[in-house]
């Protein structure tokens, strides 16, 4: 490009700055981790445990006991809602932004797995269903293993060391 045109354009830029054209990814951080999804799924299981263990006041209980029962139940359900959605969101981001078509060679079942996770993430909100919550966690853990495998990292399953019990997937 000749010098006159260059300096003309530079001058125009001073008067009216150029638009920005992006040459990077959504944020070029490249940082993804399924850990948050796993914690969210474990939280959903934990809320199911707390709901199951919550003692229902008998017919003769005083109003305060019933109010406390309703209060606890409402809080468990609210956290279950929030973490099921968070879990879906985290999985969706890794699936859409991190995974690329070339990963499907090694993980042909990826789309089905994600689809099941998203369905279960809705089911655990619509109902109180311990089986669905456990299936959600199992699905997210397999997803986490696929994620780390796609980066060439192996994973181990060990005790979660959380109130929920069970296992967690850890990158080795």
């Amino acid at each position: 490009m000749n010098a006159l045109l260059r300096s003309t354009l530079r001058f125009i830029d001073r008067v009216s700055p150029p638009d920005t054209v992006s040459a990077h990814c959504d944020i070029p951080c490249g940082i993804y981790d399924p850990h948050m999804a796993q914690i969210s799924a474990q939280t959903v299981v934990r809320m199911h445990q707390l709901i199951a263990d919550l003692e229902r006041p008998g017919p003769d209980a005083d109003p305060a006991a019933f109010a406390n029962y309703a209060n606890s139940m409402a809080r468990y359900v609210a956290v279950k809602e929030e973490h099921a959605e968070l879990c879906k969101q985290e999985v969706r981001i890794i699936w859409a932004d991190y995974f690329k078509p070339e990963h499907l060679g090694d993980h042909p079942e990826l789309h089905t797995k994600v689809w099941n996770i998203l369905k279960l993430g809705s089911k655990v909100r619509q109902t109180v269903d311990m089986k669905a919550a456990e299936d959600l966690l199992a699905g997210v853990q397999e997803f986490a293993e696929a994620f780390w495998a796609s980066k060439g990292a192996s994973t181990t399953r060990g005790p979660s060391r959380q109130a929920v019990g069970g296992e967690s997937v850890y990158p080795a």
Partner: protein
């Protein structure tokens, strides 16, 4: 106001942000774009283009035409490790191609 008028001009001026076109273009470089380039002919593989992000029309992306596919054009970054492109969002319709890069300034 100037920017509005600028949108009517047959050329556009853009400042590059990000690394997906490294080493062809680096961040901060300015490119001069011909908006009429594809009025009379089709893009061809290898052309450097500014396209609207099919997921967010307000966002402009600097990519290279790979090939025609499914009624649109596949666009890729020159630096695949740092690029979100047709591998993620599929082919880009011709109407979303803003123009062809003429040069840097």
């Amino acid at each position: 106001m100037l920017r509005r008028l600028g949108a009517l001009l047959p050329f556009g001026r853009y400042e590059v942000e990000g690394e997906s076109m490294t080493p062809t273009f680096g961040a901060g470089q300015r490119v001069f774009v011909n908006r009429l380039a594809y009025w009379f002919r089709e893009p061809k593989p290898g052309d450097l283009v500014v396209v609207r992000d099919p997921r967010d029309g307000a966002r402009l992306l600097l990519k290279r035409i790979d090939r025609e596919a499914d009624g649109g054009w596949l666009v890729l970054g020159d630096n695949p490790a740092a690029s979100t492109d047709s591998r993620a969002f599929g082919p880009v319709k011709k109407s979303l191609i803003v123009g062809k890069v003429w040069g840097t300034y």
